[in-house]
Symmetry: C2
Subunit: 270 residues, 2 copies
Amino acid sequence: MHSICLTNNKGGVGKTTTAVSLAHGLVLLLRHNNLPHRVLLVDTDSQAHATLLTTGRREWERAESLGEVLVARPSRAGAVLQRLIMPSTWDEDLHVLPGSPALDGVNARLAEDHGFAVRLRHALRSVADQYDWVVIDTMPSFSRLTTIAMVAATDIVIPVELRFLETIGLQAIIEKIADVRQTWEVPVRLTGILPVKYDQRVTLERENLELYAEHPFYGPHLFQQAIPINVAISYAHDACESIFMYDDRSTAARAYMAFVRELIERVLAS
Amino acid sequence: MHSICLTNNKGGVGKTTTAVSLAHGLVLLLRHNNLPHRVLLVDTDSQAHATLLTTGRREWERAESLGEVLVARPSRAGAVLQRLIMPSTWDEDLHVLPGSPALDGVNARLAEDHGFAVRLRHALRSVADQYDWVVIDTMPSFSRLTTIAMVAATDIVIPVELRFLETIGLQAIIEKIADVRQTWEVPVRLTGILPVKYDQRVTLERENLELYAEHPFYGPHLFQQAIPINVAISYAHDACESIFMYDDRSTAARAYMAFVRELIERVLAS
Ligand SMILES: Nc1ncnc2c1ncn2[C@@H]1O[C@H](COP(=O)(O)OP(=O)(O)OP(=O)(O)O)[C@@H](O)[C@H]1O
Ligand SMILES: Nc1ncnc2c1ncn2[C@@H]1O[C@H](COP(=O)(O)OP(=O)(O)OP(=O)(O)O)[C@@H](O)[C@H]1O
Ligand SMILES: [Mg+2]
Ligand SMILES: [Mg+2]
């Protein structure tokens, strides 16, 4: 079971958009190639946007979410997780472990829980025979929930925008990953950096993309296909549809599919 | 002393861009009208982007920041605050109380501090005779630091984008403000909602703006002037300059100046 965590503490850089597109894209591409394609999307953000887009669920008062898994007794967590998983409205082979506003309170409670970091990793073992891939969306901050998401992952992908405020924080994220690997002794690796919301008409963005491509460390990690800024994404979100459902010939859909393909290659190659 | 807090738990919606533009715009407009124009910008975000843009400071390891004020003994906090304030590189009448990565640790520590919510509000009293306006930038989450920022404010402005994920969370922010007023018994009010990064070529965004304008509660709170999406903002940030310094005839500069004018009117009228 491969677990891909999308993370970046900068806000609004397309973590959720990438997480839901990757989750659905994995099902479609793997199914097309007759490979195992049962995917679980895990939402660790109290804003629960990944949950909203893939299930339409807006009952903000409902506590049933990943939060309950994290506060359950460790021996019960796997059973709780299985009970809370919901089907998506996008595909029968895409399921969702929902986020909810209750996660804010859970994040605070985890302060007293010394074993907090491995809670999701361990709970996911109970469904290792039911899913082939897991995709984990995170909140825009280095919170305990984000640590939990990173520790539960085998692979991390960092979506990045090609603008000043979005580029200066990348090193901190890379150091956070190294930190997590060391502190919690888990083999999670940085599998790639994905440029998103890329507007190639803007000289500054083209220059930043080139700077990344030439960088000795970032360069080799960059995915080939930057995800272009594309109004189809806004419309897909508005309809609570995946970009592949809304318009699979849009530039964003084609770019995300190329990314999914390259990610699968990198993951299966390692 | 009027204190304006920019807040929205959604990431990347222009909180920082609005905070720094407002801070500099206040100095320029008030000075031009021979009104008191000493402004203090307070950065409550561990990413410290407002600090970076207005001071050029990137020494991420430095702990000197708002964090020290919040953990100081209450009787010492005012003196600590005064010692930590830095001049901006933008204008002699714009000063900055910097943020830093240390704020993440401070946010966690505040869990044990029952009086945490009023720490900034009280510390700011020690500089009430030195500044006429305070602008407070916040992180993309309802953390203790965000609560501290709201409690320290007289006025709250919510920057909003006109897209699906950005619109569904607005009600939660409004409820959070009501929550803060009640829990901490402070008179902070929602002074307005500012549409930002507005792309009027996108039908969906025009429709969302109209929906807001017609909404019985949101409508009256909307500022007249939506801030348009404008590449000048990306270039201004890249140069660590204010939009007024970079290109005061850009559509974003003119829109932000109109916003500053309308905000001053609303604040002084109340
Ligand atoms: N390729 C794209 N083209 C156009 N708009 C996009 C694209 N990718 C994302 N967006 C839009 O950008 C906004 C932010 O995206 P998203 O919510 O996925 O980011 P995020 O990193 O998850 O944000 P947060 O930090 O708040 O969790 C959304 O309105 C989304 O519709
Ligand atoms: N009017 C605008 N036109 C074009 N780009 C803009 C505009 N306003 C903001 N941006 C860009 O959008 C991105 C996000 O803006 P900003 O960092 O100010 O948002 P934020 O809400 O403070 O983000 P965070 O939640 O991470 O703190 C930045 O790259 C900024 O340059
Ligand atoms: Mg998100
Ligand atoms: Mg910001």
